[in-house]
Every structure is written in C-alpha cells, then in structure tokens.
Symmetry: C2
Amino acid sequence: MKKAVILLSGGLDSATCLAIAKSQGYEAYCLSFDYGQRHNAELAAAARVAKTLGAAEHRVVKIDLAAFGGSALTDANIPVPTDGVQGNVIPVTYVPARNTVMLSYALAWSEVLGADDIFIGVNAVDYSGYPDCRPEFISAYQVMARLATKAGVEGASLHIHTPLIFLSKGQIIQKGTALGVDYGQTVTCYKADSEGRACGECDACRLRRAGFEAAGVTDPTRYAR
Amino acid sequence: MKKAVILLSGGLDSATCLAIAKSQGYEAYCLSFDYGQRHNAELAAAARVAKTLGAAEHRVVKIDLAAFGGSALTDANIPVPTDGVQGNVIPVTYVPARNTVMLSYALAWSEVLGADDIFIGVNAVDYSGYPDCRPEFISAYQVMARLATKAGVEGASLHIHTPLIFLSKGQIIQKGTALGVDYGQTVTCYKADSEGRACGECDACRLRRAGFEAAGVTDPTRYAR
C-alpha cells in the first residue's frame, strides 16, 4: 500500500480530504498541529476523525506560530470577525505562512516515511482570500519540495494532492457524505467551546452552514445555542 | 532601516551571515530553533553572537523535527559520523526538510515584521551533499514564498539572501574576520559539550579546522582535548 501524509485539522475539509485519500487506496498518516489555537476542540475532532476513517497513524506536532502573532486565530488581541467574508480582502483569520509551515512538516514526515504523497484540503473557492490556498502556491510548493529533500535527489517525485481545491463547500460535503464521512465529528468554528460546539456566528460557521444547505444534506453540527 | 530576518544557528556560517547583513545596513531580527539538538551549546552561542553583533532581537522557537527522526542530529539511534565527508553521498547528519521548515518560520516572522529580506547561511561548497543548501532549492523557495503570503499578494517582493553560498569555508572565515566576527563565540561541532567545547573529531570540526588553516586565521575554537 502506498503511504500518504494527510494534513488533518479536525475540520470539514481535511476530514473529506482524508476520506478521498483512503478511497484512492492510500495508507493514511495524519498530521495535526497544536499551533496556539484559541481552543483544542479541533484537535480532539482530528483524533476522532482519524480513528473513524481508519488512519494508520495520527500524530500531533506542537508548533509555535503564535510566537509571531499577526492573526485573529493565534493572537488574543485581534477579534475573530463575524461580519461576513469580504470579496478580495484577506481575512484577519489568515495566519502568516501557515500552510507553508504545515506543508514543510508534512514534507519532513513524508521523507522519513518514504511517502511520495501529501494531501492538503485547501480550497480556492470559499476562502479565496488566503494566498496559501491558491493553486499557483501549491504548484510552486511542489517544485520547491522536490528540490528540498534527499528523497527528491534520489529520484522520488513528491506529489501534493489538493482534491478539494476547486470544489464549493456544498460539493465537498456531497463528496464526503458519499464516502461515509461523519461530519458530526468535525469542528469548523473559530470559536468552538471546549466540547466542540459551534458558535453559529463566525464566518467559518456561516460558510459551513450554507454548505450543508447547498448540498441538501442535514447539518449535523452541534451548536452552542 | 530595513528589517531582515537572519537564521542564526550559533555556528560559524550563520554568524558570518549576520555580520554581512549588518554591514549591508539591515536591522537584524535573529531567529534560532530549539529542534531537538543533542546539545544546547549552539543556542547559547547564538545568543552570544546576536548580542555581540548588535541584533535588534533574538528569538528562539521550539520546533519538533525530532518527532520524525531520520537524522543523526536528532535521532539518538543514529551515530554521528567521524570518518569524513563523502563525495556525492548525503550525510546522515542531514535533517529531513530542515531548511524548508526553518525558512518557513522565517517567512512567517518576516511577514509579521514587515520585512522583505531573509538571510540564510547555506553553503553549496563544503556541504554539497545537503539538497536544501543548493541554489536551485533557494530559488524555488523564493518563488514559492512570494506566492505564500498576504504581504506577497499585496506587492512585497521577498528576497532570500545566501551570501555564503559559493564561498569556501576559508573564504567565509576571511570575510567574517574582516567584519569583526569573534569566532570563539560560535559552536560548529555536532557533539559539543555543555560548555560549548568542540570534540575536534566529527566532520563539522574537521571542516571548520581546515577552514581556519585555509584562511590563514588562528583557530579560536575551544577543543575538549
């Protein structure tokens, strides 16, 4: 069986990404990060999802992105927005270089595992404001990654899979539902409480709720109110 | 004054790199990593070097590369080699994706600081076995990094400086000596003791010693024996 490293946040997108990798026959090595999130409900969700979907291993690596600040997701001084995603404005929930850092850890683990495949659930549609979710970023990362490693020098051809990149939230939910993902296990909310219940008000909650409506799938999210 | 992030290991190369950045008029924000090294003598050295050379700030970020293993520098089960650097073989002291991970943190900090410049003391001559020290890797990283960040989308043009990349160890020492670097403060040895004294036997020690001889500069290294 081919091994793949799957970046797993505990949210809806990465859970779907894991299900897709499994459906393509990969042995799944799931990687989550404790990066100074405001809450750990999503790491608990990641562990549930990895277990339910049959991951070979789930590893949580502590990283210190909060050391640099600069984002509403890691800096308590910047409020989480609840007023809707703006067209061309990069949200304050953007974490500087987050996907670059996370992919770099995935690259390190893939090399040690002897895996040529990394899956990341980035999406260029609903969150078009994040620069590190764009296809041109992923392509450039792959070019760099093939030059970065001993495995690459020795002939391995790393592939970064982004199966969700052009799907709408509704299409992602339809695909995951068909593959048996239990979205009740996932946490998307930026302000989930300690038991993983969603606020229902932040931009992430709004996009998620609209996605279930568009997909015609009953929303299993547990809301705090 | 323009700000730059300088990757500072506490070794000879990165100390020289910091001195070059300062000589070019940059305000230096030095970044070191606690990445599961076998000893912390090099972090103590980095702090001394940053202070002596007038860094604006020195930050140490804990990263967990040892979680993945795969290198003699982070895995206690792999012995550190003492039998000389081989021509085209990548040494077991290679740490998977290390420079990719470290540059990614530098990228995150540079974005928060509003800095367009990152300095890294990679060298393609003496350590030609490391894939992530090659110019083609650095070029690809820069292309990727410009696509990765909000700063890049908004027009910033990140530049990764590698002033040592084509210099021999002897040339690096001559350049740093001319800029006033006190190499007695730096630690290069893979197996330095807790007081920063070098073993004199590992491949890093051999290259360093030969560098001082080639440069015609007295070697200030403190050897354990």
